[in-house]
């Protein structure tokens, strides 16, 4: 029950951040995907099943605020959550550089999948906003790795305090 509550709060947080970003400027929505950050962060922490469910929720919420086909974001984020949780259980992604690289690969995979699914479903070329959208995986990876770095630092400080 606690996990479900956390997942719900994480989705609300993503909506919160997405709303702030949308208010700041439309370009920010293109380069920054708050829902992907939440999915990646919780998938690595909680594993593939949790990641897949959270990916479903976050993806569908993202789809609800978009005119695109409902479910495309849900599908890509479900797979993102599952992959991230699954791989992070088998290899150590804790070191900063490895963590950043892992997040970047996952984000790129998500984008590739999203482009493919959208192209198949809508049968038309996508708008890449002059290449701006290609920055999204990089921004997602940097933000998620930063979250882990901050968390590690806080834990280290907490343990030194004990």
């Amino acid at each position: 029950m606690k996990e479900v509550l956390r997942a719900f709060l994480a989705t609300l947080l993503a909506v919160f951040v997405y709303s702030l970003a949308g208010g700041a400027g439309p370009e920010l929505i293109v380069v920054f995907n708050a829902f992907s950050v939440v999915v990646l962060y919780f998938s690595v922490r909680r594993g593939e099943v949790f990641g897949a469910f959270l990916g479903t929720v976050c993806g569908l919420v993202q789809d609800a605020f978009s005119l695109g086909v409902f479910g495309v974001g849900g599908l890509t984020k479900t797979l993102l959550g599952f992959w991230a949780g699954f791989i992070s259980r088998r290899i150590d992604v804790a070191p900063l550089f490895r963590n950043g690289l892992f997040m970047l690969i996952m984000s790129v995979l998500e984008m590739v999948l999203w482009v493919l699914v959208t192209a198949v479903v809508r049968r038309e070329s996508l708008n890449f906003h002059g290449g701006l959208i290609l920055l999204q995986p990089l921004v997602t990876a940097v933000l998620t790795s930063s979250l882990f770095a901050v968390e590690r630092r806080l834990r280290a400080r907490g343990s030194r305090g004990d």
């Binding site: 829902f35 099943v49 789809d63 605020f65 978009s66 005119l67 479900t78 479903v121 708008n127």
Partner: protein
């Protein structure tokens, strides 16, 4: 050990993927109509978006109202509001004068039009592509429904309301969306066509025959009202370029710069019912 225990993760993933594929599949024949499920999610989360935007704006206005010259600011806001309605009225008057000779008829039309404008704030933009949709803080309780024209504060066309329309929030399809279509006419050459977006900053004017006369770069485009969604005479944009369409030689390739800008659509006007419908 049962297969469920051994392959739990894979089975859950397969179930979720199957769910999404089913979800996507059932929408394909539905076109633009939103599913009940999608509407439910929008209803559930749009108040959060509204609360966030409201809280941020509230904090911002608290700061400025307290420390700024409050009297001047209040007066300024009042004037802005009056200006907002006046701009809409001026646009409408200009448009209607083209159609009606009698002054009395114009007055009658204007009186009816004034009561139909619903001012709204933009509380969100499309999560996948900002040139597709925006979300407004007015819904069915405020008299907003599907297929109503939305203009910016100076009367330039922004888009139309689409489903989902919740009690206090509404989604708006921008004219820059690639699935959007607006019947327009050029102000001088009376060149008619269908304006569609490209999900980017520029739109295109489609179905203009290569043999059609009229239309120059920089010429203003106005709505015709033929589509029964947008009232006639709303300013849409100006012609950016006119070229020969290589792929379809019978048509001209015309690109259009829409007038509305994202930095000026913090407040918009929903035209609750088209003024020129009854013509």
């Amino acid at each position: 050990m049962p297969i469920w225990e051994k392959r739990r993760s894979a089975l859950i993933l397969a179930g979720l993927v199957a769910f999404h594929i089913l979800l996507i599949s059932i929408q394909i024949p539905r076109g633009a109509e939103k599913s009940l499920f999608e509407k439910s999610i929008f209803f559930l989360y749009s108040p959060v978006q509204r609360a966030v935007t409201g809280a941020v704006r509230g904090l911002g206005s608290l700061w400025t109202n307290y420390f700024d010259l409050r009297g001047v600011r209040g007066e300024n806001q009042k004037l802005k509001k009056e200006n907002f309605f006046l701009n809409q009225d001026v646009r409408f008057l200009e448009d209607q004068l083209q159609f009606f000779r009698s002054e009395a008829q114009v007055r009658e039309r204007l009186a009816a039009f004034q009561g139909k404008i619903v001012p709204a704030r933009v509380i969100g933009v499309d999560s996948a592509n900002p040139f597709q949709t925006i979300v407004l803080d007015k819904g069915s309780l405020d008299g907003v429904g599907k297929d109503m024209a939305v203009c910016d504060r100076v009367g330039n066309l922004v888009g139309r309301t689409i489903e989902p329309v919740s009690l206090r929030e509404t989604m708006v399809q921008l004219i820059t969306d690639k699935d959007s279509s607006v019947s327009v006419v050029s102000a001088v050459g009376r060149l008619t066509g269908s304006l569609t977006g490209r999900s980017g900053a520029v739109c295109e004017l489609r179905y203009v025959l290569a043999s059609a006369s009229g239309g120059q770069v920089g010429e203003e485009l106005l709505t015709t009202g033929y589509d029964k969604i947008y009232p006639a005479g709303l300013r849409v944009g100006s012609i950016r370029s006119i070229e020969k369409d290589e792929r379809s030689p019978i048509f001209r390739k015309i690109t259009v710069d829409p007038y509305f800008r994202f930095n000026t659509i913090d407040i918009v006007a929903v035209i609750a019912k088209a003024g020129g419908d009854e013509e």
